[in-house]
């Protein structure tokens, strides 16, 4: 006899227990510490911090451990935690011109003040599996040098001086925060940049790549990519001045893009901008390309109907927490809706076969 399905609660508890066991894996293998993840899977930690919109390497590492290495799940954990945190206030804009760079490259100039600094990059490694790592990951210390003391100027600043690149209008407006106010479109550039910074790395990469392949092409050079630490300053009302409350590592990318010029304006380069937490270059460059593409209206370019030009399309679909939740919700029971469709399809088929029979044997 049919018994209505019961026991959802016990099933959930048991599933959670099994999940915990699976997360731990073979207990004969030593457990991984949060510090190990933080130090040795740093790029994963950076991605979780960036898309989770929370700069905390320890929490990001914990989330990765809890999520069994599923980075979108880890980002979700960070986001859910982040929403519950009280807001003490806003910091001053970080000064990336004063960044202590560990990496700084420009594709537009062979050399420039501050130099080309490769830093810790995969760029010129040969992608051969290093079997030595499987046995022993210890490495001799890398050569060191005295770091540059003076600030490293921005490459676009040099172009700016000649008027060769379009100027960004300065603004003291408080940027909108899409985590505290519903997203309203069309949005400002600041809103778009926030959404892109939080956006899924794969999605933003795909969008950026599509522009390179001709869907709203705006040929981009990496004017500058810099990675390093910057101070975070906050105005303390009781003190009447700003103090350093810490430092964060960020990746900043400025692209230099073509621009044809118009009747009123002489030809000028234009720019796209990307800024993310930690060393996360692929994301920063992708973000800059998509930012530049989304500026078509402001820069007087035509809309060629490319996906990356459609602000609503990009912004509404870049968030992997929204996307994964909605995508995966189709695992939930839908039998009530399915039942109603079942009845409908049966009825339509009855009507159709009835009409067919009537047509075959006319009375």
């Amino acid at each position: 006899m049919y018994v209505a399905v019961k026991g959802g609660e016990r099933a959930i508890d048991n599933a959670h227990a099994w999940l915990a066991e699976e997360r731990r894996g073979d207990t004969a293998v030593p457990e991984m510490s949060v510090a190990q993840i933080r130090e040795q899977l740093k790029l994963a930690v950076n991605r979780v911090m960036t898309e989770g919109s929370l700069y905390d390497p320890d929490l990001a590492a914990l989330a990765i451990k809890q999520a069994r290495g599923d980075l979108i799940e880890a980002i979700f954990l960070i986001r859910a935690y982040r929403t519950t945190l009280p807001r003490f206030g806003g910091t001053r804009p970080i000064k990336t011109a004063e960044m202590a760079c560990i990496r700084r490259i420009s594709a537009t100039f062979k050399d420039a003040p501050g130099g080309q600094v490769l830093g810790p990059t995969f760029d010129y490694t040969h992608r051969l599996l290093d079997f030595k790592l499987a046995a022993d990951g210890e490495v001799p210390p890398a050569p060191t040098t005295v770091p540059r003391q003076e600030p490293t100027p921005h490459i676009t600043g040099f172009l700016n001086r000649e008027g060769l690149i379009q100027q960004e209008p300065p603004s003291d407006e408080t940027p909108p925060d899409l985590t505290r106010a519903p997203m309203e479109l069309p949005g400002s550039r600041a809103l778009r940049l926030q959404a892109l910074a939080r956006g899924d790395e794969g999605f933003v990469l795909g969008m950026a790549y599509s522009t390179q392949r001709g869907y709203a092409r705006n040929h981009a050079f990496v004017g500058e990519l810099r990675i390093g630490t910057v101070a975070v300053e906050m105005d303390i009302p009781e003190l009447g001045f700003a103090i350093d409350i810490g430092e964060i590592e960020v990746t900043e990318c400025e692209t230099v893009n073509q621009f044809a010029g118009s009747k009123t304006e002489p030809p000028q380069f234009t720019r796209g901008y990307g800024l993310v937490f930690g060393q996360t270059e692929r994301k920063a460059i992708s973000m800059a390309l998509v930012d530049r593409t989304l500026r078509w209206r402001e820069l007087g370019e035509g809309n060629v109907g490319a996906p990356a030009q459609d602000e609503e399309f990009v912004l509404y679909h870049s968030d992997n927490i929204q996307a994964t939740g909605f995508l995966e919700h189709i695992k939930l029971p839908h039998y009530v809706d399915f039942q109603s469709e079942l009845e409908l399809v049966r009825k339509l088929r009855r009507d159709a076969s009835g009409a067919q029979e009537a047509a075959e044997c006319p009375l």
Binding site: M1, Y2, A4, V5, K6, G7, G8, E9, A11, I12, S33, V34, A35, R38, P57, D58, L59, L62, F76, R79, A80, R82, T83, T84, P86, T179, R180, A181, P182, M183, E184, L185, P186, E312, Y316, I321, Q322, T324, G325, F326, L327, E328, H329, L332, P333, H334, Y335, V336, D337, Q339, S340, E341, L342, E343, L344, K347, L348, D351
Partner: protein
């Protein structure tokens, strides 16, 4: 930031350490404002700053936020999914509020003061003392006709619903009837076309003139909308093709009900099936009162 010792002893928080019903009071106030605006403009989608909840988008975060902003410690809470109290996601949401709000919970429709639902309206008529909170995946009834939110908001503002009528007309031209079985669009008080959430169209008539407050929360899409008590809600149709609330042409095999919405359950490999009430509380109450369907009769008879 080099640290080696275990970094976060005091960062951990238990679910019980959060504010009543999880959300902070500021957020609840923001949501309540959206709800009040929604009640003042029935059927209008009010944007609200939806928060990231500790459950995934698409799994009821909108309903959960509306419930969190609505619940008081004295409330009795009921959660159903597909009409049932014991589906896994209903269990999960009920547990969440048991832990974060400590409210009393019930499976009995009549005893609940706040009912959160996904895809169904309870069979038992609701009263003025009750609030029904719907989980909404896509709040925009015009979304599948026009993907752009900028455009659909304009269409609502201008009351430009021609596209929807053309769609319904095309259904009739192609299938001989309106081929929408659930999330069947409605018009509220002669003004806004509204998505009733993915309830079967069988439930649509229950929305109209309902004594309870009906609130709709769409977390991912950041929208709240509402129907105050006794609001007129009309399912869209044509004079010559009137709306029809349909269900399986059968009665419940457990309780014998012939006017409740039924789930079809596959019994064996030979095409055997039975029909049971989708509203588990309704079915249980009928059986407790001595009603029975064909299965019970058969079992008793053999």
């Amino acid at each position: 930031m080099k640290q080696t010792a275990d970094p976060m002893p005091e960062k951990g928080r238990d679910l019980n350490d959060y504010n009543f019903a999880y959300l902070d009071e500021q957020t609840k106030r923001m949501i309540r404002r959206a709800i009040l605006k929604g009640l003042a403009i029935p059927g209008y989608q009010v944007p609200f700053a939806s928060r990231e909840m500790p459950m995934p988008y698409g799994w009821g975060t909108g309903g959960v936020q509306v419930s969190a902003a609505t619940l008081t410690p004295e409330d009795t809470f009921k959660v159903i999914d597909q009409g049932a109290d014991d589906t896994t996601n209903a269990v999960s949401i009920r547990k969440f509020f048991e832990r974060t709000a400590g409210v009393a919970t019930t499976e009995e429709t009549a005893r609940a003061s706040v009912i959160q639902t996904r895809h169904r309206i309870p069979e038992q008529p609701l009263t003025e003392d009750q609030i029904l909170v719907y989980q909404v995946p896509i709040p925009e009834p015009l979304r599948f006709l026009e993907p752009s939110e900028i455009e659909t908001r304009k269409m609502h503002a201008l009351e430009e619903y021609g596209l929807m009528h053309v769609k319904l007309y095309e259904d009739i031209a192609r299938h001989g009837q309106i081929a929408t079985a659930y999330a069947y669009p409605v018009k509220v008080e002669g003004r806004y076309v509204m998505d009733p959430s993915p309830i079967p169209k069988f439930d649509n008539p229950k929305m109209s003139g309902n004594a309870a407050i009906q609130l709709f929360g769409a977390g991912r899409e950041q929208r709240i909308y509402a129907l105050p008590p006794y609001t007129q809600v009309v399912s869209l149709d044509f004079q010559d093709y009137p709306f029809e609330a349909s269900k399986a042409d059968a009665s419940c095999d457990l309780c014998g009900a012939d006017s409740s919405y039924l789930d079809e359950v596959i019994m064996d490999d030979a095409g055997g099936r039975m029909f049971v009430c989708s509203d588990t509380d309704y079915c249980r109450a009928r059986r407790d009162a001595g009603q029975s369907g064909s299965t019970a009769t058969r079992e008793n008879g053999s």
